[in-house]
């Protein structure tokens, strides 16, 4: 017997807890257990159609639906932001179908579903990070055929990926891949970290939290158990490097976070702000100020000035 949400009148009474039926959740849960047992390996699963289009996080939503319980607190981010359409709609989806508490605070969440960012705040052992993944196969743009890429993973044949990075160097002088930067997991599987900026790659290494990845259209689940070695692919003479900015966040003044560029007008004026909205808000609450913060006097030297 399927069971409905705690208070059917408030939720979605015609649906099972967290939308998916119990048999589907069991199937996803079995795939998740295999995924954590084989870090970085893509486990096929019978992905369901979800009430949102492919590309909007159907994989992440299915993983979250299988993992979430009534006592969880859910945070959803899209490119670091809690207040974008994708994040708001997924948060509301689970608030309605699972009646769980939701939060925008990284520290308060037990499950964080993310599209393309890892929160700046260090995650804890009691948290789970669920990634929405469009293309789980890191070799897909090099070899279109699934039977081939599967064989390449089986044989640990990753030379082609190094050739791709080398071609970057020969063309641009450096490794020009800036997002979905391939990683080697526990010295065995090459894995796509989903289209997170390479800035976030070092956070995946030895993370205290469990990391789960769901690709809905491609019907693959993979995982990184806590404290797993995750190394970004590179060369001895071209070591992996993350992005750096000469600017700081216009709102909170942070220099250590991933910054989005915001175009202000057609005169070339622009500003940079933290992509992680919770991180930025927390810093502003703590009194940190960037040059474009509205607290700053209009006439001050920095405010409104175009970034150098």
């Amino acid at each position: 017997m399927e069971q409905t949400v705690k208070n059917p009148a408030d939720g979605a009474p015609d649906y099972n807890f967290a939308y998916l039926d119990e048999q589907t959740k069991r199937m996803i849960r079995r795939a998740l257990l295999k995924a954590v047992a084989i870090p970085g390996y893509q486990v096929p699963f019978a992905g369901r159609e979800m009430p949102m289009p492919y590309g909007w996080g159907t994989g992440g939503v299915q993983v979250t639906a299988a993992v979430i319980g009534p006592n969880d607190t859910l945070k959803v981010i899209d490119q670091g932001a809690d207040d974008t359409t994708n994040a708001v709609s997924i948060r509301q989806f689970f608030a309605k179908t699972a009646q769980v508490a939701t939060t925008e605070k990284t520290a308060e969440a037990s499950i964080i579903q993310t599209r393309h960012r890892i929160p700046e705040k260090e995650l804890r052992e009691d948290q789970v990070l669920v990634y929405q993944v469009p293309i789980p196969e890191p070799l897909r743009f090099l070899v279109p055929r699934e039977t081939e890429t599967r064989k390449m993973h089986a044989l640990e044949e990753y030379g082609l990926m190094h050739v791709k990075l080398y071609e970057d160097i020969s063309r641009h002088g450096h490794i020009a891949t800036t997002y979905a930067y391939p990683v080697m997991v526990d010295d065995r599987y090459v894995m796509d970290p989903s289209p997170t900026p390479k800035f976030d790659n070092p956070k995946m290494n030895n993370m205290a939290a469990l990391q789960l990845f769901g690709a809905g259209r491609e019907k693959r689940i993979y995982a990184l158990p806590p404290y797993t070695k995750v190394k970004s692919l590179d060369f001895e003479d071209h070591p992996f490097e993350v992005q750096t900015w000469e600017d700081k966040c216009g709102m909170c003044g942070a220099r250590d976070s991933y910054l989005d560029e915001v175009i202000l007008d057609d005169q070339g004026n622009r500003m940079f702000v933290c992509s992680d909205t919770d991180y930025c808000a927390e810093r502003q609450e703590a009194g940190h100020r960037g040059p474009q913060h509205h607290d700053q006097p209009l006439g001050s030297a920095d405010r409104g000035k175009a970034a150098e």
């Binding site: 017997m1 399927e2 069971q3 099972n16 807890f17 967290a18 119990e22 048999q23 959740k25 069991r26 199937m27 849960r29 079995r30 795939a31 998740l32 257990l33 295999k34 995924a35 954590v36 047992a37 084989i38 870090p39 390996y41 486990v43 096929p44 299988a66 993992v67 979430i68 319980g69 009534p70 599967r150 064989k151 993973h153 089986a154 044989l155 526990d186 065995r188 599987y189 030895n206 205290a208 469990l210 995982a223 990184l224 158990p225 806590p226 404290y227 797993t228 070695k229």
Partner: protein, 207 residues
């Protein structure tokens, strides 16, 4: 004369209940299993109260209620094969029960059993290492005494684990299993009240 009902299948009145609340209880048990498999050697309390049929213990029963269904084949070691256990699993999980250990998605045994069957468990293949069996080993006692030191993914430095009555041959099998990576069998230790797991990635030093 009305024909007497045949008494070959289980009488529902003999059956023990499954989970109180399917969605919440199976989620709670799964989260304990996910934590256990993500952090090999850490011991987790069984989060729900379940009744176990003759032949199975509570944590093993809860694991099967949460994870098994018509898509998973169960193999029970001879010491676990009882009518009560078979009826319980068929009624609550609807899972096929096989006598061929090679077919098993989940194999259930007692630690005191002859464990020589473990080398027949499915280990998957190089392209699909996930097509492997999970061994649920029913044990009397799990503790964090340092009789085994575990390392590998999911473990910050080391985890200590002791399982009462674990035979020498088990460690030889686990060492061999570790070399098969990414193929291999994962193990869930289930006492009456606790769960711990060994992933195929876990390296075990016996102290």
């Amino acid at each position: 004369m009305t024909p007497q009902p045949q008494s070959t299948s289980a009488q529902t009145s003999d059956l023990l209940p499954g989970f109180d609340h399917t969605a919440f209880d199976s989620n709670a048990v799964f989260r304990a299993l996910l934590d256990a498999m993500s952090r090999p050697g850490r011991i987790y309390d069984l989060p729900v109260a379940v009744s176990a049929p003759d032949g199975l213990n509570k944590a093993a029963t809860a694991t099967l209620l949460a994870m098994a269904d018509m898509d998973t084949t169960i193999w029970l070691s001879p010491s676990c094969v009882t009518k009560a256990a078979g009826d319980h699993l068929k009624f609550h999980c609807g899972c096929p029960i096989s006598t061929d250990v090679k077919q098993a998605d989940f194999a259930i045994a007692r630690i005191s059993d002859d464990l020589s069957f473990v080398t027949d468990l499915a280990i998957g293949n190089a392209e699909y290492p996930d097509q492997s069996a999970t061994l649920i080993l029913m044990v009397d006692e799990i503790s964090d005494q340092p009789s085994m030191t575990l390392k590998g993914p999911g473990i910050k430095d080391t985890h200590s684990l002791a399982v009462k009555g674990l035979p020498e041959s088990f460690h030889a099998w686990r060492a061999e299993n570790h070399h098969l990576f990414p193929c291999g069998v994962d193990v869930i230790f289930a006492s009456e009240t606790q769960i711990a797991a060994l992933s195929r990635t876990t390296r075990i030093e016996v102290n």
